[in-house]
């Protein structure tokens, strides 16, 4: 078999998948976004730019998403990095597997149920009551951006921990020893060796969390009580309540565009930060 033919054959399933599961649906979304809402809802073919002109009606949803998704990503990163560092570098190898499993354990329960648990914790009879009994006032936690961020960090943390852990684990320990032998204090070894070599994991983890967060709707729905609204919630509403498919398609297409732009900027920045190394700019 000629190599070219073999390559084609091997790539055929992935190509077909991309074509039918990504390219065609995206084309349908774009096509629908120029249509009109049917009398009882749904889609009627037409050519109009009204749906795009109307996008400002969902500005708050875009604003919330564009603010809270990166913020959630950064919070995840700040919490996940020390955790991954400890697991990969500091932890006793005998405990490492068990500790890693403990990071995954929450994933064994549905995110829906775990978010409902947070309703109890953040609701009036949970943490606020405890804080009140300590005499520190009675803060309102549930149905606020804070509650949504807590849910996001809680739900997405493992997705950040694992790529960073893998990157840190791969680091050749002799490099760290060499750095110490040459007189670097630990903080300098970290900044000059460990951190740059783990950037690939940081980039992957951040991408995973950020991209998923941009489409998130469940956590804002449950912990935001309909008051902290993401683009994902706007989409659910447009398709599952007001049945305005064309406008929903326009919002979805815009979201894809916003994500493409942000991700490109982010990857460029990461590439510059890591001095143009290939393993960081993996996309």
């Amino acid at each position: 078999m000629r190599p070219a033919l073999r390559t084609t054959l091997f790539l055929a399933p992935a190509t077909a998948w991309l074509l039918f599961m990504l390219v065609l649906p995206l084309l349908v979304v774009v096509l629908f976004s120029f249509g009109e809402r049917g009398a009882a809802g749904g889609y009627v073919p037409a050519f109009t730019l009204d749906n795009y002109a109307n996008l400002s009606a969902r500005w708050t949803a875009f604003r919330n998403t564009i603010l809270l998704a990166p913020l959630g990503t950064v919070l995840c990163l700040l919490i996940a990095y020390p955790l991954a560092y400890h697991l990969a570098i500091k932890a006793d190898p005998r405990w490492r597997t068990i500790l890693l499993i403990l990071v995954i354990v929450p994933f064994w329960t549905s995110i829906l149920i775990r978010s409902y648990a947070w309703i109890q914790i953040l609701g009036g009879n949970g943490l606020p009551r405890l804080i009140a009994e300590l005499g520190l006032g009675r803060p309102r936690l549930i149905n606020t951006p804070f509650a949504v961020l807590v849910g996001i960090v809680y739900g997405y943390l493992p997705l950040m921990v694992f790529p960073i852990h893998v990157a840190l684990e791969k680091i050749d320990r002799r490099l760290l020893e060499a750095s110490a032998d040459l007189g670097s204090p630990p903080w300098r070894t970290f900044l000059q060796i460990t951190l740059p070599l783990s950037l690939a994991g940081v980039a992957t983890g951040s991408m995973l969390v950020f991209i998923l967060l941009m489409g998130e709707f469940l956590i804002p729905q449950i912990l935001g009580g309909g008051k902290v609204f993401f683009v994902g919630n706007a989409l659910v509403d447009l398709f599952l309540q007001s049945r305005n498919w064309p406008f929903g398609a326009a919002v979805a297409a815009t979201l894809v565009l916003v994500m493409l732009v942000t991700v490109t900027i982010y990857l460029r920045a990461m590439k510059r930060l890591s001095g143009g190394r290939d393993d960081v700019s993996m996309m």
């Binding site: 009882a40 009606a57 949803a61 309703i119 706007a234 309540q241 007001s242």
Partner: protein, 385 residues
């Protein structure tokens, strides 16, 4: 299951019964292995009047999916249905008719029974989403037992598309201990309290009909208005109130019970359920008016388990069963045969059967509100504001 029943000999049945008693198979397995007829026969003593019908309906499969409302069915009624027929009931709960319609329009929701509200029936029938019912398969339905006002929307051009289930009102519940025992009486007070004294503690349905309709009542407009100027006023009020709300959610009981919320738009049955445990919660029908509704059992044209759908509707319509359900959910059924079986405190309850002057001000939801694009978009803008 039909095949299994045909092979279920007496010896096989006794063996399976023994396994069930020893606990090596579950009750569900027991019912499936022995077959519906035998199981129903064994239940006959426990369920007088029901077993005969289950027997007659034969094998209906092992599941039925119902799209319905929160806190709307007594778990024991659905369990009794499973015990009598072998079909487990999957309950899908929704916050609005619009949400149900969206899933039905997208096709293949997989539902066998949909509990729909009066104002949706004509659209559902027109669009072929639901089908004319075969009343011979619902012997427990007696049209003469219902008030025409409530049952009427189910009949279109003389064809019955929907069987009336529960009736009720949409008012609001309020925890009077938060108001020093004072009870408000109007929708104007609802919206004013939500923005002032009860700021951060009030809830609005995630449902265009009632959220917008009751905002319209603040100005004294019709609950069903689609007039652009009146809707603009309602939207202004909604958006103005939004920062003060605790949440926009149609499942408000948990928040009312925990005390996080002190006031919420509320349906009859939820008010009864809340008051049962928290007497300080009052149910208010706005003097300006508001919604009067009736819900219906419908069978979508796409129902995958049609036999089970009919069996479930018929099962729940049996007066004793409907009364058991009513005692749980607190909605009047609109069925006179059922009213007679209810305890006095329910029959005399002002929540279930409000005073005539309050009832007269109420309106049935109008079909136009279901599909009106402006109302849909106002609701969406309110939520994303």
């Amino acid at each position: 299951m039909t095949d299994r029943r045909a092979t279920a000999t007496e010896r096989h049945f006794l063996q399976t019964l023994e396994s069930y008693r020893k606990g090596s198979i579950s009750r569900r397995d027991f019912l499936a292995r022995t077959g519906l007829g035998l199981a129903a026969a064994a239940m006959a003593g426990a369920m007088p009047g029901l077993a005969r019908q289950a027997w007659a309906q034969g094998s209906i499969g092992d599941r039925v999916v119902i799209a319905t409302w929160p806190n709307y069915h007594a778990p024991e009624s659905l369990e009794a249905f499973r015990a009598a027929t072998g079909a487990a009931v999957d309950v899908n709960v929704f916050g609005s008719n619009e949400e149900m319609l969206a899933k039905l329009q997208a096709g293949g929701a997989g539902w066998d029974v949909v509990v729909a509200t009066n104002y949706t029936i004509s659209t559902y029938a027109e669009q072929g989403i639901i089908e004319e019912l075969d009343l011979s398969r619902i012997p427990n339905f007696d049209p003469s037992a219902f008030d025409a006002r409530f049952a009427g929307p189910g009949v279109i051009d003389g064809k019955t598309y929907a069987i009336p289930r529960n009736i009720g009102t949409t008012g609001y519940c309020v925890n009077t201990s938060e108001l020093d025992g004072a009870t408000p009486a109007t929708w104007k007070e609802f919206w004013d309290l939500a923005r002032d004294q009860l700021s951060g503690r009030a809830m609005v349905h995630d449902y265009q009909l009632t959220a917008i309709g009751n905002a319209l009542k603040y100005y004294g407009y019709s609950f069903n208005s689609v007039d652009p100027a009146e809707l603009a006023d309602a939207e202004k009020l909604l958006i103005d109130t939004k920062p003060h709300l605790f949440a926009i959610n149609s499942d408000y009981q948990p928040s009312m019970r925990s005390g996080d919320a002190a006031m919420s738009m509320c349906w009859t049955g939820d008010a009864v359920q809340l008051q049962r445990d928290m007497p300080e919660i009052a149910y208010v029908l706005g003097r300006e008016g508001g919604e009067l509704w009736s819900d219906f059992f419908t069978v979508p044209a796409s129902a995958p388990h049609r036999d089970a759908a009919y069996a479930l509707i018929n099962f729940l319509l049996a007066p004793e069963m409907a009364a058991q359900e009513a005692r749980f959910h607190g909605y009047p059924t609109g069925d006179r045969r059922v009213d007679a079986l209810l305890p006095d405190e329910m029959r005399n309850s002002p929540i279930l059967y409000p005073a005539a002057e309050l009832l007269n001000a109420l309106e049935f939801g109008a079909a136009v509100t279901l599909t009106n694009p402006e109302r849909a978009e106002i609701m969406a803008r309110f939520k994303s504001a």
